[in-house]
Symmetry: C2
Subunit: 330 residues, 2 copies
DNA sequence: CTGAAAGCGCTTACAG
DNA sequence: CTGAAAGCGCTTACAG
């Protein structure tokens, strides 16, 4: 491999001058700079990052530990948000997947320590509380899409409550009166907060709460979840006769569309449907296309990265707002 | 940060002995090894990777350039396949996202060169031909889910033709006689090969080809694609009256299920449905659950990584077999 | 504005 | 089995 000394010999300068050019030191005389740049070009020199890092204080590495993250399509936006900023700031984002069977969090951390990472983003697949090993205290840590029960780390999570309030208000304002909210598993934080948000909207709008049913249709324990969305949607449409249904996630909306069609009704005409997530291709697959609250994954990834860059230490829990994507389902 | 010398001082040995212990050199006396291990523990020493790499010949870094890869959920399995092996082999997988707007392939390559990567996997989002900049010739390169037109690099791609043949045969064997294959855009290689595969199956089974219609229902140019699956499915079911439909991808199957239901028919009873991809949550969302040919992304990721590890140079194009996931839709 | 020296934290190559 | 020296490709700190 071509080294700084090869370039120096070729350009007829001291190797320190080459180093200066590579590092954009403005004190190099224009003529020397050009000679060096030319030699770099001709010889195909590329700085050896490992050698640079050995000598420098900063590694430029930010870790990204993904807690089984990558099973759900949109969660990858967490990584993208961070990576886009890493690229812009000339940092290295070291993405490490963690899961029960293969990679431990300790293993991932060890990796990051060996690379002298300057900070780490810990991201979870869905919004939840996590308990991190104490080794995280040794380097700046930010949580994304999750939070720490003992409040030892700064974190950013989706603003579930406001999102639910916002989409519910949007439906009420359009004239829908009688709403069924088919919620996610009541054990998860998103479900708890969204329930409050929907109720907030009814209260703020002055709507009659007897026109509201909230029910969890993803049930069972964490590792044995199943959906009763179809069954309950059918029963509720027949019995309660809502004019709108809000679904806890886009895949559930697919199920509800089937139920609505089977009952001879039309989404967007006989019954309005809204949802959460903006799950990849799903919303556009439906007819009419699904209106949904998009999760702010990309923004959370960015926020987490920026937080590390800024060198802050305040242990805030930040709320990231969803974005309402209006299509034609209500 | 704790260095090898700190550990040596604490353990009362030469720093070279610490280096030996860290690198599992068997010549260290048991007693000294224990002393060093203890000091490492007590001081919390972690080897500095950058310094190691500066001195060693090998960087241990394998690059993974992902061509906008991460928009479709299952494509991440390409990375997972490679990453699992990287972990096992104590290598670093450096994942770099490439796209038109932000990161160029040249930028990603430059990154990899600076890290003295030992090889690179170039993976595309869907099965297609690619043209790589000539800089790839400077380091061992393997293509995954794509191939090079000039055959300059080894590659692995899904065995589309056999997959189509296999699922079609499986349907024919179950007694289905009259098949509509709603194909992907005819411009893409997968569509071309699968068409051949379906025809292979009819020929091999001795089935009557007048009972087969193959039609592309994803149409338009690459950047302006749209689906006429619903419209054509409805027309074909009414006119041609197939007893089975094969869909080019799982999302298309969702659309077809809606059409079938709207016509008052039942999937798996009145009409069999098969598909391709095994796209994340979609197959299980449908009722009955969708039988589909799963893309071998994980396996391709593994193969590509192994190929680099093995140090082979043969420029083969490998075919990776799909796996039939039988559920209840036919 | 430029260069010769020292040093980063390791491993390599050699000596004992 | 262990250690003192040299060196990896750079940057830092200093001198001119």
């Amino acid at each position: 491999m071509v080294t700084i000394k090869d370039v120096a010999a070729h350009a007829g300068v001291a190797f320190k001058t080459v180093s200066r050019v590579v590092n954009n030191d403005p004190t190099v005389k224009q003529k020397n700079r050009e000679k060096v740049l030319n030699s770099i070009q001709v010889l195909g020199y590329r700085p050896n990052r490992a050698a640079q890092l050995t000598r420098r204080k900063k590694s430029g590495v930010i870790g990204f530990i993904a807690d089984e993250l990558l099973k759900v399509p949109y969660t990858f936006d967490l990584i993208r948000g961070a990576q886009d900023l890493a690229w812009e700031n000339n940092k290295e984002l070291m993405v490490l997947n963690v899961n029960i069977n293969k990679y431990s969090v300790d293993g991932a951390l060890n990796h990051l320590f060996q690379h002298r990472a300057e900070g780490v983003i810990y991201a979870s697949m869905y919004h939840r509380a996590v308990k991190l090993p104490s080794a995280f205290e040794e380097l700046p840590t930010v949580l994304a899409n999750c939070y720490d029960l003992s409040n030892s780390y700064p974190s950013i999570v989706p603003d579930e409550r406001n999102a639910a309030k916002e989409i519910t208000l949007s439906m009420l304002r359009q004239g829908y009166k009688r709403l069924v909210f088919l919620n996610l598993n009541e054990n998860i934080i998103a479900a708890k907060l969204r329930k409050l948000g929907v109720e907030d909207a009814f209260a703020e709008f002055g709507a009659d709460k007897t026109n509201l049913i909230i029910e969890s249709v993803i049930i069972g324990s964490e590792h044995n979840e199943y959906s009763v969305a179809r069954k309950r949607a059918a029963e509720l449409i027949r019995g309660f006769k809502p004019d709108a249904i809000l679904c806890g996630q886009d895949p559930m909306a697919v199920e509800v569309y089937f139920v609505v069609q089977a009952l001879g009704l039309t989404v967007g005409k006989d019954i309005g449907i809204g949802s959460f997530d903006d799950w990849d291709t799903i919303p556009g697959l439906l007819q009419p296309a699904l209106s949904t609250m998009a999760l702010p994954h990309y923004e959370m990834g960015q926020w987490a990265f920026n937080y590390l860059l800024s060198g802050q230490t305040e242990k805030t829990t930040q709320m990231a707002p969803f974005t309402l994507i209006s299509r034609h389902s209500y």
